[in-house]
């Protein structure tokens, strides 16, 4: 089911089957180019498949943007242990809702991507780790898997290729941290979702300490079209080093929010104006969080930018998972900063101290500022605390909390200061009377 109208600016590659009747069934899938890539891959060497993926410039769609072909080549094929293909469908980065339509409308594309990964690393078993809230998607995936077994596209000797592959779904139960790859593996092993120290990386010691390929839903979904079109043609859809198309989840103060498949490098202003129908109520653009809540915010004057990994990195932000959150002139940035920090504080797994304590104290100080009880140096204190957390945590969750906070307080410092100026507690710091930070 589609929740928003498609846009004429879209380039439909991963979403080409969206909206077809019975798009989740094997029959529809096969009638619309489904499994062609797998059949082609089955006659290729693993090296040739990886080469095609490297040529495509596909980069991890979960947010980190690591080259997928390279990631797959790290898995030791000759290792005598079983190897696993794991899908990260724990989509929980605020602002991100793209894996949902991918699984809801075309579950078999994901399965085909997993099968091709299986061919590459000599794996015969895959797990799809789906966040617990997406129960209806687990049911959709389970039905698609059952259908694929019934029609000979999963199981033993698939379509006479001699390749065996099994796929299982696995439910999470509400933990953002489990979107981090090593925490996901812990969770999949039936433990608390606490990240592991790396190295070794999952490619070498992943699920049950066996070599594991672990990618985001959208990354696997891109693989069949890469093999069908050829890596080079797929790369050419995007910008140099940023191949292909990407699903962007546009939300916030626009007229037509939605999930749209656009070429990598699509201009952000055009995305807001042409694809998402412009600003709601004719108001002025104030800022955009370009890739999910962990990505540093862009002011309106920084938004004339191609949306790809490298361009956003150069602008000191990130493409992340493509969750584009658009804010108009009425948006209160202190409230945004507080809401973001409440999220990361809630989701911090508590394993390492800089993250556990840093997010907690940042939440307390932001709450104090938001309640009109801030002190003069609070904006500076927020900045300093967040900076202290940056790069010093066990996993990227600490950075994910620090980066947007630093950008917000740097770019909208005047708004934090205006809150503090109105506070009856503003000058207390000058008297050297320490005031305890909120409860």
């Amino acid at each position: 089911m589609l929740y928003n109208e498609p846009s004429p600016h879209e380039v439909k590659v991963l979403t080409q089957r969206f909206g077809l009747p019975n798009s989740t069934t094997v029959d529809t899938y096969v009638a619309n180019e489904g499994f062609q890539a797998f059949m082609k891959a089955a006659s290729m060497t693993p090296e040739a498949i990886v080469d095609e993926i490297k040529k495509s410039n596909l980069r991890g769609r979960g947010g980190a943007g690591f080259p997928t072909g390279m990631k797959w080549s790290f898995v030791p094929r000759n290792n005598p242990k079983p190897k696993y293909v794991v899908v990260n469908a724990d989509e929980s980065e605020p602002g991100t809702c793209k894996d949902r339509p991918l699984m809801e409308n075309d579950p078999l594309q994901l399965i085909e991507g997993m099968m091709i990964a299986g061919l590459v690393v000599d794996s015969h078993c895959g797990y799809i780790y789906i966040r617990g809230e997406y129960r209806y998607l687990i049911d959709i995936m389970d039905r698609a898997i059952e259908d694929a077994y019934a029609k000979g596209w999963l199981g033993k000797n698939i379509q006479g290729t001699g390749f065996d592959f099994d796929v299982y779904t696995h439910t999470g139960a509400g933990a953002y941290e489990c979107g981090e790859e090593s925490a996901l593996l812990e969770s999949l092993e039936g433990k608390r979702g606490v990240p592991r120290i790396r190295p070794p990386f999952p490619a070498v010691a992943g699920l049950w300490r066996c070599p594991t390929v672990l990618n985001n839903v959208e990354t696997y979904c891109a693989v069949p079209s890469i093999l069908r079109m050829g890596g080079e043609a797929w790369a050419n859809l995007g910008t140099p080093r940023n191949g292909g198309t990407k699903l962007f989840c546009i939300s916030g103060h626009v007229n037509k929010p939605g999930v749209y498949e656009l070429p990598m490098g699509f201009n952000l202003i055009r995305m807001i104006e042409d694809v998402a129908g412009g600003m709601r109520g004719g108001r002025k653009l104030k800022a955009v969080i370009p890739g999910g809540s962990s990505c540093p915010i862009l002011r309106a004057d920084e938004c004339d930018i191609p949306m790809d990994f490298d361009s956003l990195k150069n602008a000191r932000s990130m493409l992340g998972s493509g969750g584009v959150m658009v804010m108009d002139e009425t948006t209160d940035m202190v409230q945004i900063a507080l809401r973001i920090m409440r999220f990361y504080q809630h989701e911090s797994c508590g394993w390492c101290i800089p993250c556990r304590e840093g997010t907690l104290w940042l939440k307390k100080i932001l709450t104090r500022v938001s309640d009109g009880m801030g002190q003069n140096n609070d904006p500076a204190l927020i900045h300093e605390l967040a900076n202290n957390m940056l790069g010093r945590t066990f996993c990227p969750l600490g950075d994910a909390a620090a980066m947007p906070t630093i950008a917000l307080v740097e770019k909208f410092r005047d708004e934090f200061e205006a809150y503090v100026r109105r506070s009856p507690m503003a000058d207390l710091t000058a008297t050297e009377t320490p005031v305890p930070v909120g409860a």
Binding site: N4, P94, E133, A175, E189, S251, G323, F343, C349
Partner: protein
């Protein structure tokens, strides 16, 4: 503990997904599906799940306290209303929607009505950002929710009772 046959079948299905030496992997799915089926996670269930997955009960407990969808020891209502207030929803009225739900139900965060039918929770991003503000009632998504639409949904929960 004797499980209802339907849940017993679900247990076998879930345990069958993992190699026998790694049945601990079934822990979270077993707990979540049990909670859905039985309405709560009891001590008896903790021991049963521990036995089935080959771990100590305390290892089940430590997993339960980690995951926000596992509600133990306090169960949530038969209809668990989850209102998202994260950034995309915040920008489109999610906070106001949550306040509205609090007033309408007379409940706060993670509180359950006295008859155990309805509970409320302010939740983190549920992955409906482009169709915000959004809520989930149990596992059902509701998109672009207005206070009026929320009233209608909540009134219906009472009616089906």
């Amino acid at each position: 503990m004797t499980l209802p046959p339907e849940l017993e079948a679900k247990f076998s299905e879930i345990l069958g997904k993992y190699p026998p030496q790694h049945k601990r992997s079934a822990l979270v799915p077993l707990l979540l599906y049990s909670q859905d089926y039985l309405g709560k996670i009891t001590q008896e269930l903790v021991h049963e799940v521990a036995k089935r997955t080959g771990v100590f009960p305390v290892q089940v407990e430590e997993v339960i306290t980690y995951y926000s969808m596992l509600h133990s020891p306090k169960p949530m209502g038969k209809y668990h209303v989850q209102v998202c207030t994260n950034v995309s929803c915040q920008l489109t009225g999610g906070m106001e929607l949550y306040d509205h739900a609090c007033k309408k139900l007379g409940l706060g965060h993670k509180e359950v009505s006295s008859d155990g039918v309805i509970s409320l929770e302010e939740v983190e991003c549920i992955g409906a950002c482009s169709w915000a503000p959004a809520i989930q009632i149990n596992y059902d998504f509701h998109h672009n929710v207005t206070p009026e639409k929320l009233d209608e949904l909540l009134d219906n929960l009472r009616k089906v009772q």
